[in-house]
Symmetry: C2
Subunit: 553 residues, 2 copies
């Protein structure tokens, strides 16, 4: 069996100018990065997006692998098979996890975006630019304090940490500014992974360069000794930081193995951030194609909910159809099967595990839009299992479904799903928001917990209670909330699979992200800087004298 | 008067494919990064370099500004005016200083490489890739310790620090690994600026991907509890790190305002590292053009010496001609004039200050190659000052000279210099190395101090003495030495201008760089992580809705 990187390297890519021409992108709108990648200049105010929007989400991810990205890419190729004009809008992979765990963000098998090695590594430099801009701001804050601290910033109350796109637990909590009078002011600090930076959220929510700069200026970076908030605009560096992101803001264009155009741009994680690709990439896909397919991170409880409640209002567009990805394997795991026994048929476990799928379908249906379940077939799935699942979705959940096998068959394996999605997009449907604009902060969190997670209540830590009071006092309670929660469970405990009820969500802290325009609610033991495993993927990677890559998935 | 960024933005660039065609670079060797930047695939083993090599160096830099890069670019355009086939080989600017001090590394006035904004910002992502690779290695080291420490690495003896391309004094000395059992091992650490990374030196000295990987594997990252050295190859991650640099190793092609081709690649500082662009870029320039012009960082005491003693042996080529840049203003400053009085004619101070030029010319002449002095004219220079300087170079130093004014006139202002350089390149000359291969480490340092700096002796700190013994014991004493010294003085004290004699150089530490293949000797108070000034350049930078940039020089 060929590895993903082998399939990727053997695929004959079209020159990116040819892919762009397919979408009617003019040559002067295109900046090539090598022969197979490009950045696209695009003004959504001038070029009004008009296509149908398809949102792909899934059940809770498990160790079994759900293949949400593979389904998303396969669906794109499936729509191409139906001769539809289609474009994908996906997130860029983060390099930190690429070096840690096997399993990329570029699909798998014959449903991949290519060149997968470049996309998984530095791509067009967007994350590097974000890292640089983020840390430049950190240096400018400490430099301000070093040179007299005119703004009276309290070094103990700086909320702007530093970032790297590396899984580096060693940097989670650090003390900086040691070394005496000329080497800064000693204080506690920490590093997050780049995708957790507010700048990443801003890049993905900004509608143009001016909006980007405005949002950067609004970012809260800390407080004065007398508890007054300090914004980036107080430091007068929003211009410089925007300058550092002048190319990063432009969506990137690549292709699938079957030459379907794919915009890949921005990549916040859905567990610690809002988990959706950039608004500009989705707008580009909506403008240049008739069908735009976007994937939100992790399950419907995370990326799905955030797409609906945070992204859609800024995008001025809600999905015409939502695809929920499920696999028999993952549902069996939810039904209590041991990871090592997933290859054996187990209908009883499947019948127990479907509760998880039921919850995720309900989560998306409550927004009023058509839902289609994509049953992503693995070679170990039995006919009986697939039949059971199809029947369950049709009879119990009463939504459409299709079996998809794009991993092995590419677009041809997704034709049935593509047909269901095209049909769903034609259904008239009104969008119903989860919470009304103006709902108080705590009530918004409660709405998400009870209506989406299936929980019963929310408990705030002492720290979170203080933060809530501060946010209300500052008058920002009306902002949407971005939940930071484990992706593995509908609860805040990664080990609770299935569809638990009557549980409580514990909010440990509330963080004001004024540039992104939301409030992050940290729940459970969520880490904003991952670590590497005992055998990092990096140990098996190599490149030979001819540039042939091994070990990258 | 127009600013550099205004002149840059108003210049009509040729498409980079046209610049490449000028040099006979084939389309399949070219990877475009937008319309005006490209990476060049080039195998020096197949395509033997054959051009003439011109090295540009200078007197000690001063606050007056010497314009070495401006002269280098102007000389390139001057040779183009003479209808010579010429290519520049320059270093990439570091973003850290760009955000700090005004004054870029892309020339000035009408002698600039363009697009200057892109080159000064992220360019093609080389430095970002180095930052990522460097910090990935750091994370892998700490991760190894966290997961059982099979190699028995002593956390107190890790020599591999972390890096950022940010001027951030706050990160010079830090404590990492706080936060308990799951967040690493507490230890002392620090950040350098990316250009000081050994990976930067390696990228600039590697001859191909295989050599790059070999060198990375050889890097020393620390010691075990029982003082045994730990190399990157012990961790088995040289493949992954090379993979992260697979694009960074390819030279970048841009152009001057007058469309002279310029390879810009790699950028170690000459005060804390070896200070020369990549060997691959110089080889590309030598191969594709008849005249290759390369610039070494800071004065002849730093980048000049390092080009001759570290780079040339690896390049298998010594310069055919050396250009030493001087200005009347800088020499007056060396002669004791106050910075505010540089606009006034002062022949007495100039007569005192030329001692500095004399030393730098002698430094380069001792290698046996022809030297030409480029007198870089500023508008405030008087005729009498320029005449005095020309006479002094001719009569006292007995080398050729030419006045150059490319800042105001571009290539036309450099025709005289270009003619002198062409003539010098035809002179037969044998290369005489500064020290013989096999000279013991301390004697190599003494040779540089006495023959190049004009000092009398070297004193090693206790730490440096211990390091020297360790290096000798390990059998690496034969490696070349890379001095880390202030650029402002021939001594290790930045305030001592002119051409001091009878001084002692204080070596505070010796660092083994087994991947780069040299030993760094730290002298005086040299910092490997700069800080930002009280009014950083970033505060004045901006970009408007049309992408128009202000404040970037």
């Amino acid at each position: 069996m060929k590895s993903d990187v082998e399939i990727s390297q053997e695929s004959r890519m079209d020159p990116i100018v040819k892919i762009a021409a397919k979408l009617g992108i003019k040559e002067d709108q295109l900046e090539q990065y090598g022969h197979y990648k490009a950045k696209v200049q695009f003004d959504p105010k001038v070029e009004k997006p008009a296509g149908k929007l398809i949102l792909v989400t899934s059940i809770n991810p498990t160790a079994a692998g759900e293949g949400k990205t593979t389904v998303t890419i396969g669906l794109g190729d499936g729509l191409s098979e139906l001769h539809k004009k289609v474009a994908l809008a996906l997130r860029e992979p983060s390099l930190g996890p690429v070096m840690g765990m096997k399993g990329g963000a570029t699909g798998g098998g014959y449903a991949q975006v290519v060149p997968m090695d470049d996309i998984n590594l530095h791509f067009t430099g967007d994350f590097d630019a974000l890292t640089e801009a983020h840390n430049t701001l950190a240096a400018l804050i400490d430099n301000h304090i070093q040179h007299g601290n005119q703004l009276n910033i309290d070094p103990r109350q700086i909320t702007w940490k530093r970032v790297l796109d590396v899984n580096d637990r060693e940097l989670r909590q650090v003390v900086v500014g040691l070394g005496g009078r000329t080497s800064g002011v000693p204080r506690q600090d920490g590093f997050d992974i780049t995708v957790a930076s507010e700048l990443m959220a801003i890049l993905c929510l900004a509608t143009d360069l001016v909006d980007l700069k405005k949002r950067i200026g609004q970012m809260l970076i800390g407080y004065t000794y007398d508890r007054k908030p300090i914004l980036v605009s107080d430091l007068h560096v929003q211009g410089a930081l925007t300058l550092l992101l002048k190319d990063a803001i432009k969506p990137n264009l690549v292709q699938t193995i079957e030459h379907t155009p794919a915009f890949i741009h921005g990549g916040p994680f859905a567990n610690i951030a809002h988990g959706c690709n950039s608004i500009l990439a989705t707008q580009a896909a909506l403008h240049f194609a008739d069908y735009a397919i976007t994937e939100a991170g992790f399950g419907s409880d995370l990326g799905g909910e955030k797409f609906m409640d945070i992204v859609s209002p800024k995008l001025n567009k809600t999905p015409d159809c939502v695809v929920v990805v499920a696999t028999a394997r993952a549902l069996k795991l939810n039904g209590g099967v041991n990871k090592n026994e997933l290859n054996q048929e187990n209908l009883a476990a499947l019948a127990d595990g479907v509760a998880n799928l039921k919850r995720h379908v309900a989560n998306m249906r409550q927004y009023g839009k058509p839902v289609v379940v994509a049953i992503n077939r693995f070679s170990s799935d039995s006919e009986a299992e697939i039949n059971f699942l199809t029947q369950y979705v049709t009879n119990e959940l009463q939504v459409k479904s299709a079996v998809i096998n794009s991993w092995a068959q590419g677009g041809k394996g997704a034709i049935e799903l593509a047909k269901e999605v095209v049909a769903a997009c034609e259904q008239p449907a009104d969008f119903k928001p989860l919470y009304a604009a103006g709902t108080p902060l705590l009530d918004k969190i409660k709405a998400i917990v009870t209506k989406t997670y299936g929980g019963s209540d929310v408990v705030l830590s002492t720290k979170a209670q203080t933060a809530l009071k501060q946010i209300e006092k500052m008058g920002y309670s009306q902002l949407p909330v971005c939940m930071a929660k484990t992706q593995y469970s509908l609860t805040d405990n990664a080990k609770q699979l299935g569809a638990p009820t009557n549980f409580i969500i514990h909010v440990s802290d509330l963080q004001l992200k004024l540039g992104a325009g939301f409030i992050v609610a940290l729940t459970g033991k969520i880490l904003t800087m991952p670590g590497l495993p005992s055998h990092p993927a990096a140990l098996d990677m190599d490149i030979d004298e001819n540039g042939r890559i091994t070990g990258l998935f």
